[in-house]
Each structure stands twice: as C-alpha cells, then as structure tokens.
C-alpha cells in the first residue's frame, strides 16, 4: 500500500514448534495506531521483533518505514549517564530533538549527569522513552511500554504516542494493560478460541 508506514502481508511464523500466526496481514498509515493484545507467549513480542528486523524466521513480507523499537530491555547503558546514553543514540541516528529537550519532555530534567544504574527502574524507563524523541522515526514499535512506570509515567507514554500519531507517525504497541488509544485498532494474538 503506498504511503503506508507498515505493511505486513501473509506473515507466518512458528516458534519452538508452535505456530504463532498464520498468513497475518496488517498495515498502518500515518497517524495510525494498533494495539497488540494476547496472553503471554502468543507472539506479540515475536511479531514486534520480526517487524523491527531482529527476528528473521518467518515467511511473508514486511515493509516498514524508518522505525524505532523499544523492547523489554530498555536499551539504556547502566554505566552511563542519561545524557551520555542519549548523545550516543543521537550519534547513531541524528535528526531528532536535542537531548536536553527530550529529557525535559519525559520529566527527567536535572538527571543529565546521573549515572543510570543509580536510577530507579521507572526513571530508567523514562530515559528509554526519551530516545524515542532523540532519534527520528515514523514508526514506533513498543513492547509493553507501560512496564515499571507509575500512573504519571503511563500518562506520559500515552501522551508521547498521541503526539507521534498527530505528527504523522504510527505506533504498533504490545500491551497487557489497556492503553486506551483514541481511534486505534486492536489485534489480539493467540490460539483461536
């Protein structure tokens, strides 16, 4: 589909001998949002990783725009400060917001020089979210983004997702807790009832 940020066609994938999904089709356009729901082990993470490009054992096609993947592991180096982490990300893929602005938007101003292993899990998660701002991407792939966050943090995630969608990006998000995204589709994975 032209102009789509994500097109998945006929995707079939088996893991450890179990079929996770068969001939899956989905697509996301600018402003689109899709929640992935399903019990543990239903293939949500595998689907996200396959779309991100980390998992190659599938048949079918996946076409994506430039994306960012936020998985179970936050992707934050514990021995580095928040600033050093984000500066590194900016070097890998420049073109997003400035580091200090990104930290401000996730509510971590003042933590630039704090080494991440001295932060709580929730604070590290916020720094991880900041890299979604530091690196430009039209498609966000989020795996359980609400983990380890308090209510304020969860609202932050919802806010960031909405801003991304309004700016013409798209978000594919796996979640146990309902995200309550406006105008978003829901795809439930798992064994057929």
């Amino acid at each position: 589909m032209p102009g789509a940020l994500l097109t998945v066609a006929g995707l079939s994938c088996a893991r450890d001998g179990r079929v996770l999904f068969d001939a899956l089709d989905l697509s996301l356009r600018a402003g689109g949002g899709l929640e992935l729901r399903g019990p543990n082990g239903s293939g949500k993470s595998t689907l996200l990783r396959a779309v991100a490009g980390l998992y190659p054992d599938y048949t079918g096609t996946i076409e994506t725009a430039e994306s960012l993947y936020l998985g179970h592991r936050p992707g934050i180096g514990a021995l580095l400060t928040a600033e050093e982490n984000l500066v590194w990300y900016a070097a890998l893929r420049p073109g997003g917001e400035a580091v200090s602005e990104a930290l401000a938007r996730v509510g971590m101003t003042g933590y630039e020089r704090v080494v991440c292993q001295h932060m709580s899990a929730g604070q590290q998660r916020r720094v991880a979210l900041a890299r979604l701002l530091v690196c430009p991407a039209r498609l966000w792939l989020l795996d359980e983004p609400l983990t380890a966050l308090d209510a304020a943090g969860q609202d932050l995630v919802r806010g960031l997702i909405e801003t991304q969608r309004q700016a013409g990006g798209a978000v594919l998000c796996a979640t146990h807790q309902p995200l309550a995204l406006a105008d978003a589709g829901v795809l439930t994975l798992g064994p057929a009832a």
């Binding site: 980390l54 190659p56 934050i76 050093e84 070097a91």
Partner: protein, 227 residues
C-alpha cells in the same frame, strides 16, 4: 546518518567511558595475567636459565588466556540491557561501531598488556635484549586476538555459561599468532633477525581487521534472534 568517523568516535567514547566507570572489571584480566605468571614461577621453578628460556611461551600463552577472560564481557553487558539490539538496528554500517568496541577493548587488554610486558619480562627472567621484540610481537599480534576473540564472544553472548565454550571456539584461531609471537621472541633471544615474523603477525592482524567485523556482525544478529 552520521559520518563514519563520527559513528566510530561516538562508540569508542561510549566504550571507554563505561569502562572507566567500572575500572575494577577492566583490571581483572590484567591482574589475572600476573597471578598466572606467579603460578608459573612457582610451578616451573625459578632458576634464571629455566624460567627465562620458557618466558616467551609463558608470556604469550598467558596473554591469550587473559584476553579470553576479558572477551567474555565484551558484548555481555550490552546484550543484557538491550543496548546491543539497538546498536544492531540503528548503527549502520554496523562494522564501524563493532570495530570501535573491539578497539576500545583492545586498549584495555592488548595495549595494556604490551605496556605491562616489561614487568612480566622482569618476573620471568626474560633476557633484556629480547624485550623490544616482545613488545613488538605483543603490539602487532594482540589486535588479532581481540578481533578473532570478538567473533567468539558474539557467537556465545546469548548463551548462559558461554565462557568455556568461548575458549574452545577461539583458542584454535589463536594458534598462528601464538606460534609467531612466541617463536619470534625465542629467535630474538638467539640473536636471529625476526622481521619476517613481525610482518606475519601484522599480516594476521590486518586479515582479522578485514574478516572479523563481518563475522561479528553476522554473529551478533544471530545471537539476538534467540531472545
């Protein structure tokens, strides 16, 4: 997309910053080197003739083993905290940050061991006239150790208890460097010219610079599939 130089520099800077904050971890392999030298002295006996004669082999074998210890941690931390998968996704072309990572580790192992070699030579009664060659062999041979070692580290990073497996995979690949390195020092002790061996060591290291980063890339992607 950053320029290649900027990408390399950013990764290099990141590695060294992290290493300096966990200096203890970086020092462990070096301490091991000297601990093992002590064990050799205790085991083999300390007549200058005996110990000095075996010094080239002892130094080189222990440098290999110390390198192995350091290699275990090369990708482990980044794998565990999710940084490695981000690097694979975002850091194009991947061989640049990989090279930077290995280069940073080399500074803390191969280069550091070269600088400490005079101390090792002292402890092992290595004749003074062979010291220069010793430093030269370590300097030109250790990059190959770090680079081929990185291949093994990348293949085993996703495995629990990958340490011994890492050793099994890499040590055969270290054989040429060991042979030429220790051999050169032995020859130098006999007064023979060893420029050929130094060139060979350099050539092996050059080969590893061209081959290893691609193998490491492939291995990292393979290891990331597992999680």
């Amino acid at each position: 997309m950053s320029s290649p130089a900027a990408l390399f520099a950013a990764q290099f800077r990141r590695e060294l910053t992290a290493a300096l904050r966990s200096l203890q971890e970086a020092l462990n392999p070096l301490v091991f080197l000297f601990l093992a030298i002590t064990l050799f002295a205790l085991g083999v006996g300390v007549e200058p003739q005996t110990l000095g004669r075996y010094a080239p082999g002892i130094i080189w074998v222990l440098v290999l083993l110390s390198n192995l210890l350091a290699l275990e941690g090369l990708f482990r931390r980044d794998f565990d905290d999710g940084t490695l998968e981000q690097l694979v996704l975002l850091g194009q072309p991947l061989f640049l940050p990989v090279l930077a990572k290995v280069a940073a580790q080399w500074c803390l192992t191969g280069l550091a061991m070269t600088l400490l070699a005079p101390l090792a030579a002292l402890l092992l009664y290595l004749p003074a006239e062979a010291l220069g060659v010793t430093l030269l062999t370590l300097l030109t041979g250790s990059p190959a150790l770090s680079l081929f070692g990185a291949v093994g580290a990348a293949l085993t990073v996703g495995l629990r208890r990958g340490g011994v497996l890492l050793a099994l995979l890499i040590l055969p690949l270290y054989v040429p460097t060991l042979i030429f390195g220790a051999g050169a020092i032995t020859l130098a002790m006999a007064g023979v010219d060893v420029s050929a061996q130094i060139y060979l060591l350099t050539a092996i290291s050059m080969l590893s610079v061209t081959v290893a980063p691609f193998a490491v890339q492939a291995a990292l992607r393979i290891s990331l599939e597992q999680s």
